[in-house]
Protein backbone atom coordinates (compact mmCIF):
# COMPACT_ATOMS: atom_id res chain seq x y z
CA UNK A 1 0.00 0.00 0.00
CA UNK A 2 1.15 3.48 -0.77
CA UNK A 3 2.38 5.47 2.22
CA UNK A 4 0.76 8.67 1.05
CA UNK A 5 -2.01 8.90 -1.48
CA UNK A 6 -3.20 12.13 -3.01
CA UNK A 7 -6.58 11.33 -4.54
CA UNK A 8 -8.17 13.71 -7.09
CA UNK A 9 -7.18 16.78 -5.11
CA UNK A 10 -8.31 20.22 -6.28
CA UNK A 11 -7.57 23.49 -4.51
CA UNK A 12 -8.98 26.87 -5.55
CA UNK A 13 -7.99 30.36 -4.42
CA UNK A 14 -10.87 32.57 -5.52
CA UNK A 15 -11.24 31.92 -9.23
CA UNK A 16 -7.72 30.54 -9.57
CA UNK A 17 -7.39 26.76 -9.59
CA UNK A 18 -3.97 26.27 -7.98
CA UNK A 19 -4.21 22.47 -8.00
CA UNK A 20 -6.39 20.65 -10.50
CA UNK A 21 -7.46 17.06 -9.94
CA UNK A 22 -4.04 15.78 -8.88
CA UNK A 23 -3.55 12.12 -7.98
CA UNK A 24 -0.20 10.82 -6.76
CA UNK A 25 0.76 7.73 -4.77
CA UNK A 26 4.03 7.81 -2.85
CA UNK A 27 5.66 4.58 -1.72
CA UNK A 28 7.46 4.06 1.62
CA UNK A 29 11.15 4.96 1.47
CA UNK A 30 10.80 6.96 -1.71
CA UNK A 31 12.57 10.23 -2.50
CA UNK A 32 9.71 11.86 -4.38
CA UNK A 33 9.98 15.27 -6.04
CA UNK A 34 7.35 17.76 -7.12
CA UNK A 35 9.00 19.74 -9.90
CA UNK A 36 7.67 22.73 -11.77
CA UNK A 37 7.96 26.46 -12.40
CA UNK A 38 6.81 28.87 -9.70
CA UNK A 39 3.03 29.03 -9.45
CA UNK A 40 2.54 25.46 -10.72
CA UNK A 41 0.88 24.36 -7.47
CA UNK A 42 3.70 22.26 -6.01
CA UNK A 43 3.98 24.28 -2.78
CA UNK A 44 0.18 24.24 -2.38
CA UNK A 45 0.26 20.44 -2.53
CA UNK A 46 3.02 20.35 0.08
CA UNK A 47 1.06 22.68 2.38
CA UNK A 48 -2.03 20.46 2.02
CA UNK A 49 0.03 17.39 2.96
CA UNK A 50 1.46 19.26 5.98
CA UNK A 51 -2.05 20.40 6.95
CA UNK A 52 -1.60 24.16 6.56
CA UNK A 53 -4.15 24.06 3.77
CA UNK A 54 -7.08 21.75 2.98
CA UNK A 55 -8.19 20.46 -0.44
CA UNK A 56 -11.47 21.79 -1.85
CA UNK A 57 -12.06 18.43 -3.51
CA UNK A 58 -10.48 15.03 -3.18
CA UNK A 59 -8.56 13.70 -0.23
CA UNK A 60 -5.10 12.94 1.08
CA UNK A 61 -4.54 9.60 2.79
CA UNK A 62 -1.64 8.56 5.00
CA UNK A 63 -1.38 4.79 5.52
CA UNK A 64 -4.83 4.55 3.97
CA UNK A 65 -6.42 6.94 6.48
CA UNK A 66 -7.76 10.33 5.43
CA UNK A 67 -5.93 13.34 6.83
CA UNK A 68 -8.95 15.61 6.41
CA UNK A 69 -9.48 17.76 9.50
CA UNK A 70 -6.26 16.61 11.20
CA UNK A 71 -4.36 19.77 12.24
CA UNK A 72 -0.65 20.09 11.30
CA UNK A 73 0.53 19.48 14.89
CA UNK A 74 -1.20 16.08 14.93
CA UNK A 75 0.13 14.83 11.57
CA UNK A 76 3.06 12.41 11.88
CA UNK A 77 5.13 14.34 9.35
CA UNK A 78 7.52 17.26 9.50
CA UNK A 79 8.50 20.03 7.12
CA UNK A 80 11.84 21.62 6.29
CA UNK A 81 10.99 25.18 5.36
CA UNK A 82 12.64 27.18 2.61
CA UNK A 83 13.63 29.87 5.13
CA UNK A 84 14.63 27.08 7.61
CA UNK A 85 12.42 28.78 10.27
CA UNK A 86 14.86 27.92 13.05
CA UNK A 87 13.83 29.29 16.46
CA UNK A 88 16.26 32.18 16.98
CA UNK A 89 15.97 32.12 20.78
CA UNK A 90 16.90 28.45 21.09
CA UNK A 91 20.28 26.80 20.64
CA UNK A 92 20.89 24.25 17.91
CA UNK A 93 20.30 21.49 20.47
CA UNK A 94 17.17 23.31 21.69
CA UNK A 95 15.80 23.52 18.15
CA UNK A 96 16.41 19.84 17.52
CA UNK A 97 14.94 18.86 20.90
CA UNK A 98 11.73 20.83 20.20
CA UNK A 99 9.77 18.13 18.29
CA UNK A 100 10.84 15.52 20.85
CA UNK A 101 9.59 17.72 23.71
CA UNK A 102 6.31 18.23 21.87
CA UNK A 103 6.00 14.45 21.54
CA UNK A 104 6.52 14.14 25.31
CA UNK A 105 9.73 12.10 25.19
CA UNK A 106 11.73 11.58 28.37
CA UNK A 107 14.74 13.76 29.23
CA UNK A 108 17.21 10.93 28.69
CA UNK A 109 15.72 9.97 25.37
CA UNK A 110 15.74 13.57 24.19
CA UNK A 111 19.40 14.02 25.13
CA UNK A 112 20.37 10.83 23.36
CA UNK A 113 18.32 11.44 20.19
CA UNK A 114 19.56 15.03 19.90
CA UNK A 115 23.20 13.98 20.07
CA UNK A 116 22.62 11.12 17.60
CA UNK A 117 20.94 13.47 15.14
CA UNK A 118 23.63 16.13 15.57
CA UNK A 119 26.18 13.47 14.65
CA UNK A 120 24.09 12.46 11.64
CA UNK A 121 24.33 16.00 10.21
CA UNK A 122 27.93 16.55 11.44
CA UNK A 123 27.13 19.41 13.80
CA UNK A 124 28.20 17.93 17.16
CA UNK A 125 30.35 20.94 18.05
CA UNK A 126 27.56 23.43 17.28
CA UNK A 127 25.06 22.07 19.81
CA UNK A 128 25.19 25.18 22.00
CA UNK A 129 25.38 27.74 19.18
CA UNK A 130 22.45 29.95 18.30
CA UNK A 131 21.07 29.98 14.73
CA UNK A 132 22.42 33.47 14.00
CA UNK A 133 25.93 32.17 14.65
CA UNK A 134 25.66 29.53 11.89
CA UNK A 135 26.43 29.62 8.16
CA UNK A 136 23.71 28.96 5.57
CA UNK A 137 24.76 25.34 5.10
CA UNK A 138 24.83 24.73 8.85
CA UNK A 139 21.35 26.25 9.31
CA UNK A 140 20.16 23.97 6.54
CA UNK A 141 21.54 20.95 8.37
CA UNK A 142 19.93 22.01 11.66
CA UNK A 143 16.59 22.36 9.86
CA UNK A 144 17.02 18.84 8.43
CA UNK A 145 18.01 17.45 11.82
CA UNK A 146 14.99 19.09 13.47
CA UNK A 147 12.72 17.57 10.83
CA UNK A 148 14.23 14.09 11.13
CA UNK A 149 14.89 13.73 14.86
CA UNK A 150 11.43 12.45 15.82
CA UNK A 151 11.46 9.95 12.94
CA UNK A 152 8.39 11.23 11.07
CA UNK A 153 6.54 8.98 8.60
CA UNK A 154 7.25 11.63 5.95
CA UNK A 155 9.62 14.55 5.62
CA UNK A 156 8.43 17.42 3.42
CA UNK A 157 11.15 19.66 2.00
CA UNK A 158 10.12 22.99 0.50
CA UNK A 159 12.95 24.18 -1.78
CA UNK A 160 15.39 23.65 1.09
CA UNK A 161 18.47 24.26 -1.04
CA UNK A 162 17.18 27.42 -2.71
CA UNK A 163 18.99 29.83 -0.38
CA UNK A 164 22.42 28.21 -0.76
CA UNK A 165 25.09 29.20 -3.27
CA UNK A 166 25.72 26.90 -6.23
CA UNK A 167 28.74 25.00 -4.88
CA UNK A 168 27.19 24.41 -1.45
CA UNK A 169 23.97 23.32 -3.12
CA UNK A 170 25.71 20.48 -4.95
CA UNK A 171 27.41 19.37 -1.71
CA UNK A 172 24.08 19.42 0.13
CA UNK A 173 22.44 17.42 -2.67
CA UNK A 174 24.97 14.66 -2.17
CA UNK A 175 24.51 14.81 1.63
CA UNK A 176 20.74 14.77 1.24
CA UNK A 177 20.81 11.56 -0.84
CA UNK A 178 23.12 9.88 1.69
CA UNK A 179 20.98 11.11 4.59
CA UNK A 180 17.75 9.82 3.08
CA UNK A 181 19.32 6.43 2.41
CA UNK A 182 20.65 6.28 5.98
CA UNK A 183 17.43 7.21 7.82
CA UNK A 184 15.09 5.48 5.38
CA UNK A 185 12.40 8.13 5.82
CA UNK A 186 10.19 8.99 2.85
CA UNK A 187 11.05 12.43 1.45
CA UNK A 188 8.73 14.67 -0.54
CA UNK A 189 10.85 17.37 -2.09
CA UNK A 190 9.63 20.50 -3.83
CA UNK A 191 11.87 22.32 -6.28
CA UNK A 192 11.83 24.37 -9.46
CA UNK A 193 15.30 23.14 -10.41
CA UNK A 194 15.15 20.26 -12.90
CA UNK A 195 18.84 19.51 -12.29
CA UNK A 196 18.20 19.14 -8.55
CA UNK A 197 15.15 16.95 -9.19
CA UNK A 198 17.00 14.66 -11.61
CA UNK A 199 19.98 14.32 -9.27
CA UNK A 200 18.04 13.55 -6.08
CA UNK A 201 14.80 11.76 -6.84
CA UNK A 202 13.59 8.23 -7.22
CA UNK A 203 10.50 9.61 -8.92
CA UNK A 204 9.48 13.07 -10.11
CA UNK A 205 6.06 14.59 -10.76
CA UNK A 206 6.45 17.40 -13.28
CA UNK A 207 3.76 20.02 -12.71
CA UNK A 208 2.36 22.87 -14.74
CA UNK A 209 -0.61 25.14 -13.99
CA UNK A 210 -1.84 22.92 -11.16
CA UNK A 211 -1.68 19.65 -13.10
CA UNK A 212 0.76 16.77 -13.08
CA UNK A 213 2.12 16.59 -16.63
CA UNK A 214 4.15 13.45 -16.06
CA UNK A 215 5.13 11.33 -13.08
CA UNK A 216 8.07 9.03 -13.66
CA UNK A 217 11.63 8.09 -12.84
CA UNK A 218 14.27 10.70 -13.76
CA UNK A 219 15.75 8.81 -16.73
CA UNK A 220 12.30 8.05 -18.12
CA UNK A 221 11.34 11.72 -17.87
CA UNK A 222 14.51 12.69 -19.67
CA UNK A 223 14.45 10.13 -22.45
CA UNK A 224 10.69 9.59 -22.83
CA UNK A 225 9.01 12.93 -22.06
CA UNK A 226 5.24 12.63 -22.31
CA UNK A 227 4.67 15.99 -23.94
CA UNK A 228 6.20 19.18 -25.21
CA UNK A 229 6.19 20.90 -21.80
CA UNK A 230 8.04 18.10 -20.03
CA UNK A 231 10.50 17.74 -22.91
CA UNK A 232 11.24 21.45 -22.83
CA UNK A 233 11.30 21.82 -19.02
CA UNK A 234 13.72 18.97 -18.36
CA UNK A 235 17.15 19.56 -19.87
CA UNK A 236 17.92 21.10 -23.25
CA UNK A 237 16.00 19.86 -26.26
CA UNK A 238 15.36 20.64 -29.91
CA UNK A 239 11.70 20.69 -30.92
CA UNK A 240 10.73 20.37 -34.59
CA UNK A 241 7.14 20.62 -35.87
CA UNK A 242 6.47 17.52 -37.97
CA UNK A 243 3.76 15.64 -39.84
CA UNK A 244 3.48 11.84 -39.80
CA UNK A 245 4.12 10.37 -43.23
CA UNK A 246 4.16 6.67 -42.47
CA UNK A 247 3.83 4.39 -39.50
CA UNK A 248 4.64 0.69 -39.51
CA UNK A 249 5.17 -1.33 -36.35
CA UNK A 250 7.97 0.60 -34.66
CA UNK A 251 9.22 2.70 -37.56
CA UNK A 252 7.81 6.16 -37.92
CA UNK A 253 8.31 8.36 -40.97
CA UNK A 254 8.09 12.07 -40.24
CA UNK A 255 8.29 15.14 -42.42
CA UNK A 256 9.52 18.53 -41.25
CA UNK A 257 8.43 21.35 -43.56
CA UNK A 258 11.34 22.89 -45.46
CA UNK A 259 13.76 20.34 -44.08
CA UNK A 260 12.86 16.89 -45.30
CA UNK A 261 12.03 13.44 -44.01
CA UNK A 262 13.04 12.23 -40.59
CA UNK A 263 13.20 8.57 -39.65
CA UNK A 264 12.11 7.83 -36.09
CA UNK A 265 10.75 5.02 -33.94
CA UNK A 266 7.55 4.77 -31.95
CA UNK A 267 5.77 1.59 -30.83
CA UNK A 268 2.35 3.29 -30.67
CA UNK A 269 -0.04 3.05 -33.60
CA UNK A 270 -0.05 6.57 -35.05
CA UNK A 271 -2.30 7.82 -37.85
CA UNK A 272 -0.68 9.05 -41.03
CA UNK A 273 -1.23 12.80 -41.45
CA UNK A 274 -1.15 13.52 -37.72
CA UNK A 275 0.81 16.62 -36.69
CA UNK A 276 3.11 16.68 -33.70
CA UNK A 277 6.52 17.59 -32.41
CA UNK A 278 9.79 15.77 -32.85
CA UNK A 279 11.97 16.20 -29.75
CA UNK A 280 15.70 15.57 -29.91
CA UNK A 281 18.34 15.96 -27.19
CA UNK A 282 21.40 18.00 -28.27
CA UNK A 283 23.87 15.36 -27.04
CA UNK A 284 22.38 12.79 -29.45
CA UNK A 285 23.18 14.90 -32.52
CA UNK A 286 26.53 14.50 -34.29
CA UNK A 287 28.00 17.41 -36.22
CA UNK A 288 30.33 16.46 -39.06
CA UNK A 289 32.43 18.38 -41.52
CA UNK A 290 31.50 17.70 -45.18
CA UNK A 291 34.47 15.49 -45.82
CA UNK A 292 33.71 13.22 -42.87
CA UNK A 293 31.18 10.53 -43.61
CA UNK A 294 28.51 9.14 -41.38
CA UNK A 295 26.33 6.19 -41.99
CA UNK A 296 23.23 7.65 -40.42
CA UNK A 297 19.79 7.95 -41.94
CA UNK A 298 18.92 11.40 -40.65
CA UNK A 299 21.38 13.82 -42.30
CA UNK A 300 20.82 17.52 -42.82
CA UNK A 301 23.11 20.22 -44.16
CA UNK A 302 23.67 23.35 -42.14
CA UNK A 303 25.99 26.16 -41.12
CA UNK A 304 27.46 26.73 -37.64
CA UNK A 305 26.07 30.08 -36.47
CA UNK A 306 27.24 30.15 -32.86
CA UNK A 307 29.24 28.01 -30.55
CA UNK A 308 29.68 27.87 -26.85
CA UNK A 309 32.90 26.24 -25.67
CA UNK A 310 32.29 24.72 -22.23
CA UNK A 311 35.54 22.83 -21.80
CA UNK A 312 34.38 19.24 -21.65
CA UNK A 313 31.72 19.84 -24.30
CA UNK A 314 30.93 22.40 -26.97
CA UNK A 315 27.42 23.54 -27.83
CA UNK A 316 26.96 24.20 -31.55
CA UNK A 317 24.03 26.18 -32.88
CA UNK A 318 23.54 25.01 -36.45
CA UNK A 319 21.19 26.74 -38.90
CA UNK A 320 19.48 24.23 -41.17
CA UNK A 321 18.24 24.73 -44.74
CA UNK A 322 14.75 25.80 -43.59
CA UNK A 323 16.17 28.47 -41.29
CA UNK A 324 15.65 26.46 -38.11
CA UNK A 325 18.49 26.53 -35.63
CA UNK A 326 19.14 23.30 -33.78
CA UNK A 327 21.51 22.82 -30.88
CA UNK A 328 24.02 20.00 -30.79
CA UNK A 329 26.28 19.11 -27.89
CA UNK A 330 29.54 17.34 -28.72
CA UNK A 331 32.10 16.07 -26.21
CA UNK A 332 35.60 17.39 -26.84
CA UNK A 333 37.06 14.00 -26.15
CA UNK A 334 39.64 13.81 -28.94
CA UNK A 335 43.13 14.37 -27.50
CA UNK A 336 44.73 17.68 -28.36
CA UNK A 337 41.64 19.12 -30.02
CA UNK A 338 39.77 21.98 -28.43
CA UNK A 339 36.74 21.90 -30.68
CA UNK A 340 35.74 20.41 -33.98
CA UNK A 341 34.12 23.25 -35.93
CA UNK A 342 34.21 27.05 -36.17
CA UNK A 343 31.48 29.62 -36.69
CA UNK A 344 30.58 29.74 -40.41
CA UNK A 345 31.64 26.16 -41.14
CA UNK A 346 29.33 24.21 -43.44
CA UNK A 347 28.46 21.02 -41.58
CA UNK A 348 26.20 18.01 -41.64
CA UNK A 349 24.11 17.19 -38.61
CA UNK A 350 22.97 13.61 -38.15
CA UNK A 351 21.32 11.43 -35.58
CA UNK A 352 20.27 7.81 -35.18
CA UNK A 353 16.70 6.98 -36.10
CA UNK A 354 15.95 6.04 -32.48
CA UNK A 355 17.52 9.18 -31.00
CA UNK A 356 14.45 11.40 -30.80
CA UNK A 357 10.91 11.15 -29.52
CA UNK A 358 7.71 11.90 -31.37
CA UNK A 359 5.29 13.89 -29.18
CA UNK A 360 1.60 14.03 -30.07
CA UNK A 361 0.21 17.51 -29.54
Amino acid sequence: MALLEIRNVTRRFGTLEAVKDVSIAIEPGEFFTLLGPSGCGKTTILRMIAGFDEPDEGEILLDGKSLAGVPPERRPLHTVFQSYALFPHMTVAGNIAFPLEMAGRSHDEIRQRVSETLALVHLEEKADSFPHELSGGQKQRVALARGLVNKPRLLLLDEPLGALDAKLRVEMQIELIALQREVGITFIFVTHSQQEALALSHRIAVMKDGRVEQCDEPDQLYTQPANRFVADFIGKINLLDVEVKSSSKVLLGLHAAGLGDIAATDPRPIAVGERGVFALRPELIRVFGHRESADLKNRFEGVVRELLYLGDVTLYKVELANGRVIEALMPNAAPGRAKFHEVGDAVTVCWRHDAGVYLRS
Binding site: H78, H89, M90, H132
Partner: protein, 280 residues
Protein backbone atom coordinates in the same frame (compact mmCIF):
# COMPACT_ATOMS: atom_id res chain seq x y z
CA UNK B 1 24.91 41.96 11.14
CA UNK B 2 24.85 45.64 10.18
CA UNK B 3 26.92 46.55 7.15
CA UNK B 4 30.18 48.34 7.87
CA UNK B 5 29.65 52.07 7.71
CA UNK B 6 32.11 54.67 6.63
CA UNK B 7 32.96 56.79 9.65
CA UNK B 8 32.33 60.50 9.16
CA UNK B 9 35.45 62.66 9.30
CA UNK B 10 36.41 64.30 12.61
CA UNK B 11 35.19 67.74 11.60
CA UNK B 12 31.77 66.54 10.38
CA UNK B 13 31.36 64.57 13.56
CA UNK B 14 32.05 67.70 15.63
CA UNK B 15 29.74 69.97 13.65
CA UNK B 16 26.89 67.50 13.79
CA UNK B 17 27.20 66.57 17.46
CA UNK B 18 28.05 69.99 18.88
CA UNK B 19 24.54 71.57 19.06
CA UNK B 20 22.91 68.64 20.89
CA UNK B 21 25.98 68.36 23.13
CA UNK B 22 25.78 72.03 24.12
CA UNK B 23 22.05 71.72 24.66
CA UNK B 24 22.40 68.68 26.88
CA UNK B 25 25.28 70.20 28.86
CA UNK B 26 23.44 73.47 29.48
CA UNK B 27 19.92 72.21 30.06
CA UNK B 28 20.35 68.70 31.37
CA UNK B 29 23.72 68.13 32.99
CA UNK B 30 24.03 71.57 34.65
CA UNK B 31 20.56 71.50 36.28
CA UNK B 32 21.15 67.91 37.35
CA UNK B 33 24.38 68.95 39.06
CA UNK B 34 22.61 71.89 40.70
CA UNK B 35 20.04 69.46 42.09
CA UNK B 36 22.79 67.17 43.37
CA UNK B 37 24.54 70.12 45.03
CA UNK B 38 21.28 71.43 46.49
CA UNK B 39 20.83 68.15 48.35
CA UNK B 40 23.86 68.97 50.47
CA UNK B 41 22.94 72.54 51.42
CA UNK B 42 20.80 74.09 54.11
CA UNK B 43 17.36 75.52 53.79
CA UNK B 44 17.24 79.33 53.63
CA UNK B 45 15.37 81.45 56.15
CA UNK B 46 12.47 81.90 53.78
CA UNK B 47 12.81 78.50 52.12
CA UNK B 48 14.81 77.70 49.02
CA UNK B 49 18.53 77.47 49.73
CA UNK B 50 20.62 79.23 52.38
CA UNK B 51 23.45 81.39 51.02
CA UNK B 52 26.69 79.45 50.94
CA UNK B 53 29.95 80.98 52.23
CA UNK B 54 32.25 77.99 52.73
CA UNK B 55 32.41 74.23 52.24
CA UNK B 56 31.72 73.90 55.91
CA UNK B 57 28.18 75.00 55.14
CA UNK B 58 27.57 71.72 53.27
CA UNK B 59 25.52 69.23 55.25
CA UNK B 60 23.94 65.82 55.07
CA UNK B 61 20.91 67.07 57.00
CA UNK B 62 18.48 66.39 54.15
CA UNK B 63 19.55 62.76 53.87
CA UNK B 64 19.54 62.35 57.68
CA UNK B 65 16.03 63.69 57.70
CA UNK B 66 14.99 61.21 54.99
CA UNK B 67 16.46 58.31 56.90
CA UNK B 68 14.91 59.48 60.13
CA UNK B 69 11.31 59.09 59.14
CA UNK B 70 9.78 55.80 58.01
CA UNK B 71 7.08 57.69 56.08
CA UNK B 72 9.56 58.32 53.25
CA UNK B 73 10.40 54.66 52.96
CA UNK B 74 6.69 53.94 52.86
CA UNK B 75 6.12 56.43 50.05
CA UNK B 76 9.02 55.00 48.08
CA UNK B 77 7.67 51.49 48.56
CA UNK B 78 4.16 52.57 47.59
CA UNK B 79 5.48 54.32 44.48
CA UNK B 80 7.35 51.21 43.39
CA UNK B 81 4.28 49.10 44.03
CA UNK B 82 2.07 51.43 41.98
CA UNK B 83 4.65 51.52 39.17
CA UNK B 84 5.02 47.73 39.17
CA UNK B 85 1.26 47.17 39.24
CA UNK B 86 0.71 49.73 36.45
CA UNK B 87 3.40 48.08 34.34
CA UNK B 88 1.93 44.61 34.88
CA UNK B 89 -1.61 45.73 33.99
CA UNK B 90 -0.27 47.56 30.94
CA UNK B 91 1.49 44.36 29.76
CA UNK B 92 -1.68 42.31 30.20
CA UNK B 93 -3.85 44.88 28.39
CA UNK B 94 -1.37 45.87 25.70
CA UNK B 95 -0.20 42.41 24.67
CA UNK B 96 -3.41 41.19 23.00
CA UNK B 97 -3.95 44.62 21.44
CA UNK B 98 -0.41 44.79 20.02
CA UNK B 99 -0.73 41.19 18.85
CA UNK B 100 -4.01 41.89 17.04
CA UNK B 101 -2.58 44.97 15.34
CA UNK B 102 0.53 43.05 14.29
CA UNK B 103 -1.65 40.22 12.87
CA UNK B 104 -4.07 42.52 11.01
CA UNK B 105 -3.62 43.17 7.28
CA UNK B 106 -0.68 45.46 6.49
CA UNK B 107 -2.92 48.14 5.01
CA UNK B 108 -4.85 48.49 8.28
CA UNK B 109 -1.93 48.45 10.73
CA UNK B 110 -0.91 52.09 10.38
CA UNK B 111 -4.47 53.20 10.99
CA UNK B 112 -4.76 51.04 14.10
CA UNK B 113 -1.46 52.38 15.45
CA UNK B 114 -2.76 55.88 14.81
CA UNK B 115 -5.80 55.05 16.97
CA UNK B 116 -3.48 53.96 19.77
CA UNK B 117 -1.63 57.29 19.80
CA UNK B 118 -4.72 59.41 19.05
CA UNK B 119 -5.34 60.27 22.76
CA UNK B 120 -2.06 62.24 22.69
CA UNK B 121 -3.81 64.71 20.43
CA UNK B 122 -5.73 66.07 23.41
CA UNK B 123 -4.23 67.56 26.56
CA UNK B 124 -3.11 65.08 29.21
CA UNK B 125 -4.73 67.01 32.10
CA UNK B 126 -8.01 67.27 30.27
CA UNK B 127 -8.06 63.53 29.85
CA UNK B 128 -7.30 62.97 33.55
CA UNK B 129 -10.11 65.42 34.46
CA UNK B 130 -12.38 63.32 32.29
CA UNK B 131 -11.60 60.38 34.59
CA UNK B 132 -12.74 62.48 37.55
CA UNK B 133 -16.14 62.71 35.92
CA UNK B 134 -16.20 59.01 35.12
CA UNK B 135 -15.01 57.76 38.51
CA UNK B 136 -16.81 60.35 40.66
CA UNK B 137 -20.38 59.08 40.23
CA UNK B 138 -19.15 55.51 40.81
CA UNK B 139 -17.72 56.56 44.20
CA UNK B 140 -14.27 55.39 43.09
CA UNK B 141 -12.60 58.77 43.02
CA UNK B 142 -9.72 59.53 45.45
CA UNK B 143 -8.90 55.86 45.94
CA UNK B 144 -5.78 53.83 45.13
CA UNK B 145 -7.91 52.18 42.44
CA UNK B 146 -8.46 55.55 40.73
CA UNK B 147 -4.70 56.19 40.78
CA UNK B 148 -3.96 52.87 39.09
CA UNK B 149 -6.71 53.43 36.50
CA UNK B 150 -5.30 56.85 35.67
CA UNK B 151 -1.73 55.58 35.50
CA UNK B 152 -2.63 52.65 33.26
CA UNK B 153 -4.76 54.89 31.07
CA UNK B 154 -2.00 57.46 30.66
CA UNK B 155 0.78 54.96 29.93
CA UNK B 156 -0.89 52.18 27.94
CA UNK B 157 0.25 53.47 24.52
CA UNK B 158 3.87 53.38 25.71
CA UNK B 159 3.48 49.65 26.22
CA UNK B 160 1.48 48.98 23.04
CA UNK B 161 3.93 50.63 20.66
CA UNK B 162 7.18 48.79 21.52
CA UNK B 163 5.26 45.51 21.80
CA UNK B 164 3.65 46.04 18.41
CA UNK B 165 7.01 46.96 16.85
CA UNK B 166 8.41 43.70 18.21
CA UNK B 167 5.48 41.40 17.35
CA UNK B 168 5.13 42.81 13.88
CA UNK B 169 8.65 41.59 13.03
CA UNK B 170 8.03 37.97 14.05
CA UNK B 171 8.43 35.59 11.12
CA UNK B 172 5.10 33.74 10.68
CA UNK B 173 7.10 30.76 9.41
CA UNK B 174 8.35 30.22 12.98
CA UNK B 175 4.81 29.57 14.21
CA UNK B 176 4.12 27.29 11.27
CA UNK B 177 7.33 25.42 12.03
CA UNK B 178 6.34 25.05 15.69
CA UNK B 179 2.91 23.79 14.69
CA UNK B 180 4.39 21.44 12.12
CA UNK B 181 6.68 20.02 14.81
CA UNK B 182 3.73 19.26 17.09
CA UNK B 183 3.06 22.40 19.17
CA UNK B 184 -0.55 23.40 19.87
CA UNK B 185 -1.66 27.05 20.01
CA UNK B 186 -0.91 27.45 23.73
CA UNK B 187 2.58 25.95 23.42
CA UNK B 188 3.29 27.99 20.29
CA UNK B 189 2.58 31.15 22.24
CA UNK B 190 4.65 30.30 25.32
CA UNK B 191 7.54 28.65 23.49
CA UNK B 192 7.87 30.97 20.46
CA UNK B 193 5.87 34.20 20.49
CA UNK B 194 6.34 35.12 24.15
CA UNK B 195 10.10 34.56 24.49
CA UNK B 196 10.70 36.40 21.21
CA UNK B 197 8.61 39.34 22.45
CA UNK B 198 10.59 39.77 25.70
CA UNK B 199 12.69 42.65 24.30
CA UNK B 200 9.42 44.46 23.47
CA UNK B 201 8.05 43.76 26.95
CA UNK B 202 11.26 45.09 28.51
CA UNK B 203 11.35 48.33 26.54
CA UNK B 204 7.62 48.87 27.09
CA UNK B 205 8.05 48.23 30.81
CA UNK B 206 10.88 50.77 31.03
CA UNK B 207 8.73 53.34 29.21
CA UNK B 208 5.87 52.78 31.69
CA UNK B 209 7.60 52.00 34.97
CA UNK B 210 10.00 54.95 35.11
CA UNK B 211 7.54 57.74 34.23
CA UNK B 212 4.94 56.31 36.64
CA UNK B 213 7.51 56.48 39.47
CA UNK B 214 7.87 60.22 39.02
CA UNK B 215 4.28 61.03 38.05
CA UNK B 216 2.55 63.52 40.38
CA UNK B 217 -0.45 64.74 38.37
CA UNK B 218 -2.43 61.51 38.45
CA UNK B 219 -2.21 60.85 42.21
CA UNK B 220 -2.88 64.53 42.88
CA UNK B 221 -6.03 64.64 40.76
CA UNK B 222 -7.41 61.12 41.20
CA UNK B 223 -5.85 59.90 44.47
CA UNK B 224 -6.80 60.51 48.08
CA UNK B 225 -4.57 62.05 50.75
CA UNK B 226 -3.07 58.67 51.49
CA UNK B 227 -2.15 58.01 47.87
CA UNK B 228 0.73 60.45 47.40
CA UNK B 229 3.78 59.08 45.60
CA UNK B 230 7.42 60.19 45.33
CA UNK B 231 6.53 62.61 42.54
CA UNK B 232 4.05 64.43 44.78
CA UNK B 233 6.52 64.44 47.63
CA UNK B 234 9.27 66.03 45.54
CA UNK B 235 6.93 68.59 44.04
CA UNK B 236 5.68 69.45 47.51
CA UNK B 237 9.21 70.10 48.81
CA UNK B 238 10.03 72.49 46.03
CA UNK B 239 6.71 74.35 45.68
CA UNK B 240 4.81 74.17 48.96
CA UNK B 241 7.33 73.42 51.75
CA UNK B 242 10.17 75.30 50.02
CA UNK B 243 12.56 72.72 51.42
CA UNK B 244 14.84 72.47 48.40
CA UNK B 245 17.56 70.32 50.01
CA UNK B 246 15.01 67.69 50.97
CA UNK B 247 13.40 67.82 47.50
CA UNK B 248 16.82 67.40 45.91
CA UNK B 249 17.75 64.52 48.18
CA UNK B 250 14.47 62.77 47.28
CA UNK B 251 15.13 63.33 43.57
CA UNK B 252 18.63 61.90 43.86
CA UNK B 253 17.38 58.85 45.73
CA UNK B 254 14.76 58.26 43.04
CA UNK B 255 17.30 58.65 40.24
CA UNK B 256 19.73 56.23 41.88
CA UNK B 257 16.99 53.63 42.36
CA UNK B 258 15.78 53.96 38.78
CA UNK B 259 19.31 53.68 37.40
CA UNK B 260 20.00 50.64 39.55
CA UNK B 261 16.81 49.04 38.32
CA UNK B 262 17.57 49.85 34.68
CA UNK B 263 21.06 48.41 35.08
CA UNK B 264 19.67 45.25 36.63
CA UNK B 265 17.14 44.85 33.82
CA UNK B 266 19.78 45.38 31.14
CA UNK B 267 22.02 42.80 32.81
CA UNK B 268 19.18 40.30 33.16
CA UNK B 269 18.00 40.72 29.59
CA UNK B 270 21.54 40.34 28.27
CA UNK B 271 21.78 37.00 30.04
CA UNK B 272 18.28 35.76 29.40
CA UNK B 273 17.47 37.00 25.92
CA UNK B 274 20.20 35.37 23.91
CA UNK B 275 19.16 35.01 20.30
CA UNK B 276 16.09 37.22 20.48
CA UNK B 277 18.10 40.18 19.14
CA UNK B 278 17.91 38.42 15.82
CA UNK B 279 14.23 39.35 15.47
CA UNK B 280 14.26 42.80 17.02
Amino acid sequence: MSAPRTRPSGLTEWVVTLPPTIFLLAFFLAPALIVVAAGFRETGEFGGLAPIDSFAALTLDAYRFLGGDVIYLEIFARSFLVAALTTLICIVLAYPLAWLIARSPKSRRDFLVLLVILPFASNFLVRIYAWIMLLGPANLLYTPFAVIVGMVYAHLPFMVLPLYTNLEKHDPALLEAAQDLGANAWTRFWRVTFPLSLPGIFSGSALVFIPVLGMFAVPELLGGTGDILIGNLIKEQFLENRDWPLGSALSIMLTILVLALAGLTAWASKRGLHGTEAVT
